[in-house]
């Protein structure tokens, strides 16, 4: 009897979870944070095209920033850009999936410091400014990115 109840409860939970997944965005732990609710921030980033323009500006910016350019010596920059577009699209509430590896795994061998993390955030602010993303919307994305410091900064 007890086992039956457990089974029934389990089946109900699975059904509920499937139902929820059909409506809510897919949970992607590798992206490092849950997406921002609604699509207002995604729209403030001018959707996929805007995020693409931001990353077109951002990747050359970080790879020429004297503080951090050496960190990308062996990085596949085309893939980096693709992953960043996916991640920011997903986190801002856009209709994207992040197909990359998780933040800890990607950065574990790099020995990054807070200086690196913050320099990258500053460069991102410049690129978002260039796309004319409003400051409050920029900060809403940064609120999702900031706690990733704990996974990314290992030194």
């Amino acid at each position: 009897m007890h086992r039956l109840t457990t089974l029934a409860l389990g089946a109900t939970l699975i059904l509920a979870a499937t139902g929820a997944a059909a409506q809510a965005p897919m949970v992607m732990p590798a992206a490092g944070a849950t997406p921002i609710a609604g699509d207002a921030v995604y729209k403030a980033f001018h959707e996929q095209a805007g995020i693409q323009r931001i990353m077109d500006d951002f990747v050359p910016r970080i790879t020429s920033d004297p503080r951090i350019k050496d960190r990308f010596a062996t990085t596949n920059l085309d893939r980096l850009k693709l992953m960043l577009v996916q991640q920011v699209c997903y986190l801002t509430g856009g209709p994207c999936q992040y197909t990359g590896r998780d933040m800890k795994e990607v950065h574990s061998s790099l020995g990054l410091q807070n200086l690196d993390f913050n320099a990258l955030a500053e460069d991102l602010q410049f690129s978002m400014d260039k796309e004319k993303v409003s400051f409050p919307a920029q900060n809403q994305l940064l609120a999702k990115l900031a706690p990733m410091q704990r996974a990314i900064v290992t030194k």
Partner: protein, 287 residues
């Protein structure tokens, strides 16, 4: 000259390869500005943030000069502060409370000036005001300020018990990036009369009391924050009532080397002269 030297040092620091002792690696305005007592914070409230732009791997430092123009007095403050490894802050500030022509009315002589030295230390205990966006708790620090006033005879004459004292405080600061808002709350144990400018303890009350400092700031853009502050003060002296203080401010960081804070500050009644409110301007240079 010190400002020029520091700025030059900061310029060379940011150009140097990491890891450097001076990396200026934190984000703009996240170290706060310099309080009137020299600690990193707002104008009146000491915050939990460690001053300067140094990360946990480096050292940041700054100098500041602050001028407050009140109806019957002038307050000037200038000092230096160093933040070590985003963990410990050490500061020194000299305050000059100039009574100007009011000095004659108080029987002190025209231009009579109270000087006060303030040595501060602050230690970050836990939390990160910026990174911990997914956690509820703020960055929390504890600090102490040793203050020594050079007019002991006057302090005693008006009922003050001591010309030196130590303030102890615990500060909690959190940046809410989602709202672009920064909040700070500080509890200070103090005996200081008018920040210590009129000494410590008094004929009316001579024990430590817990006082509150609060700041709320809204970030308009990377460079500019506007906000309000309130700070309660003890009322220890029988001869003159002491009141709480308030300010509204705008802090503008040109870059990580230079910021200017303009405020309108209300310090209440000071030494029987009522309604001491006026403009406050503070320059900070560092890295």
């Amino acid at each position: 000259m010190l400002v020029a030297g520091l700025t030059a040092l900061a310029g060379s620091a940011s150009a140097a390869d990491a890891p450097a002792l001076f990396d200026s690696g934190r984000l703009l305005l996240t170290g706060g500005v310099s309080t009137v007592e020299g600690s990193g914070g707002g104008g009146l409230a000491s915050w939990a943030t460690i001053t300067g732009y140094g990360t946990r791997d480096s050292v940041g430092a700054n100098v500041h000069g602050t001028y407050v123009n009140l109806p019957d007095y002038e307050l000037r403050a200038y000092g230096v502060a160093v933040g070590f490894y985003d963990r410990v802050e050490v500061s020194y500030t000299r305050q000059q409370f100039d009574t100007g022509s009011t000095g004659a009315k108080l029987g002190l002589g025209s231009g009579f000036t109270f000087d006060q030295d303030i040595v501060g230390v602050k230690v970050k205990l836990f939390g990160d005001a910026v990174y911990d966006q997914d956690r509820w708790y703020p960055q929390v620090s504890v600090g102490a300020q040793y203050k020594k006033n050079d007019k002991g005879a006057i302090v005693h004459a008006v009922g003050g018990k001591d010309d030196s004292g130590v303030d102890y405080y615990v500060a909690a600061t959190k940046l809410f990036l989602n709202q672009s808002v920064l909040l700070n709350g500080t509890v200070r144990l103090t005996k200081a009369n008018q920040f210590g400018l009129l000494g410590f303890g008094g004929d009316k009350h001579n024990d430590y009391s817990a006082q509150f400092e609060g700041s709320a700031a809204y970030l308009l853009n990377k460079h500019l924050a506007i906000g309000v502050e309130a700070r309660t003060k003890p009322d220890n002296l029988g001869f003159a009532k002491e009141q709480d203080s308030y300010d509204v401010f705008a802090a503008y960081a040109l870059n990580k080397n230079l910021s200017v804070t303009a405020a309108y500050v209300d310090l209440g009644s000071i030494a029987t002269f009522k309604d001491q409110h006026g403009f406050y301007i503070s320059l900070q240079a560092g890295f």
